[in-house]
């Protein structure tokens, strides 16, 4: 993943685990460096009549912080994740139902919203919930010397003068969510927006790989798929 990015963009190694929670319809854990988020999804399931929507499915998100009790920050994260879900999930396919999303932040070391978005996307795909496209979160900060830094650690975020989180979707490679804090110029913002798309494309490639590995491990599909002939054979079907 690192090889195809420009030299100026450094991102931490990303790893994922899919279908790890036995009780959930879909689940995923994503780790970027020391930031780790676990998402569990149930859906489409029954919803209380007071909450149901006759035209689309309701998405209920709950974010739990790594330590301590809830805070307004968790509500902000819930709102951010809900926004992306509403845009991407084809909610009209399952009216009068609910999709329940539980996000557990396991450890926080910077770029947490981007990691949450990535884990959410993988979990939604794992659950088989109809989505218009995939989405990938990219986090970028502006350091004091004006340089942009991608996928920052918590220390780098502390020392930054501006923070951006972008979410791209892969049907037209457009940005669908932008969150900025701090002071920066329009030029810096546009540069961050444009370069973050590259990182998002890499994350989409990573999603594809993750699902390839998951599907190849499923004994029911092993006979179907041709073996991977690359430099490194990851899993060989019997």
């Amino acid at each position: 993943m690192l090889a195809t990015l420009e030299n100026s963009i450094r991102v931490r190694p990303i790893s994922s685990e899919l279908s790890i929670l036995g009780n959930c319809d879909g689940s995923a854990r994503v780790k970027q460096g020391n930031s780790s988020v676990l998402v569990g999804i149930w859906g489409p399931i029954e919803v209380k009549q007071s909450k149901e929507d006759p035209e689309k499915c309701v998405i209920e998100t709950t974010v739990k912080a790594a330590t301590g009790q809830g805070s307004p920050l968790d509500k902000m994260y819930e709102e951010a994740l809900n926004q992306t879900c509403e845009q991407i999930v084809i909610t009209s396919a399952h009216p009068r139902t609910c999709i329940q999303v539980i996000v557990q932040i396991e450890s926080e070391d910077g770029a947490i919203v981007a990691v949450m978005k990535n884990a959410l996307c993988l979990a939604l795909m794992d659950a088989g919930i109809p989505m218009r496209s995939m989405f990938a979160g990219v986090s970028c900060v502006q350091q004091e010397n004006g340089e942009l830094l991608w996928d920052p650690t918590a220390d780098e975020e502390e020392e930054s003068t501006a923070k951006y989180t972008f979410v791209y979707e892969n049907s037209k490679n457009n940005a669908i969510y932008v969150h900025c804090t701090g002071e920066s110029t329009i030029e810096q913002y546009m540069l961050a927006l444009q370069k973050s798309r590259q990182v998002a494309m890499e994350v989409f490639g990573f999603y594809r790989e993750s699902f390839e590995k998951l599907l190849r491990k499923d004994v029911k599909f092993q006979m179907l798929l041709p073996p991977i002939i690359k430099g490194e054979i990851i899993d060989e079907p019997e």
Binding site: I45, H94, M125, P130, M134, N170, S171, N173, L215, K220
Partner: protein, 235 residues
């Protein structure tokens, strides 16, 4: 904003993810199946999985856990209540399904089975609109049961939808070992991820249930080996 390029539907099964788009083939009429939508003059994937196509249709195969009712599918449902003339049945989907109390072969208002919460039925889905509760019936279109019935006794196990589809295949390699090992047993596989098992003795039922659950993750040969161990261990 660059558009991702569209390509032709692959001949061999291959892995796709959400957002992948394909061109509509010019030379044949294809029915677009589960996991795909027809949008903007192209076919877009809405679920990740293995894309398969034959002459008539194209669809995405993926092993999910949550059932979404589809017309004419056979499901194993559990009665959870009764509202006037209809039973409320849990089929594992988002809504509770309804079944008329006379939707059985030869049933009339005076002569019909009286079911209680906890009874299990093998029914077919006669209405599966996404906006309303699904409806079931234990008769086919001509009024005959044809295998649809109330299931007495036995044991229900829950599994993924993909395993159910594999079990329902004709002469499925997963059920052949069971025929070799057990003299008599009954299996009822619902498309909703529920399998009902009944056999002569409880031990056999347990052995079959364990075997089916293991078929989820083990290859057939490994599952058969573990079946032999289980049968031996249970005595």
């Amino acid at each position: 904003m660059a558009e991702t390029e569209t390509k032709e539907i692959p001949d061999k099964p291959s892995i796709v993810v959400c957002g992948d788009t394909f061109n509509i083939p010019a030379n044949k009429d294809l029915t677009v199946g589960p996991g795909l939508v027809f949008r903007n003059n192209a076919i877009t994937c809405t679920k990740p999985g293995v894309i398969k196509s034959n002459d008539k249709s194209v669809w995405i195969d993926r092993n999910n856990r949550r059932y979404v009712p589809v017309l004419e599918e056979r499901v194993v449902g559990i009665i959870i209540g009764r509202v006037m003339d209809e039973y409320r049945i849990d089929i594992g989907g988002a809504h509770v399904a309804m079944m008329s109390s006379i939707a059985f072969e030869g049933a009339t208002q005076r002569n019909k089975p009286e079911l209680k919460p906890g009874n299990v039925v093998f029914a077919r889905v006669i209405a599966a609109n996404k906006d309303v509760e699904p409806e079931l019936a234990c008769v086919n279109k001509k009024g005959k049961a044809n295998g649809l019935q109330v299931l007495e006794g036995g044991h229900i196990i829950q599994c993924s939808l993909g395993l159910c589809r594999k079990l329902r295949q004709h002469k499925s390699p997963l059920t052949q070992p069971l025929l070799n090992h057990f003299k008599s047993f009954e299996l009822c596989v619902g498309m909703n991820g529920r399998i009902w098992v009944r056999s002569d003795t409880n031990k056999h039922t347990v052995a079959i249930s364990i075997y089916l659950k293991q078929c989820e993750h083990l290859s057939v040969s490994d599952a058969v080996m573990s079946l032999r161990h289980t049968v031996k261990a249970l005595g």
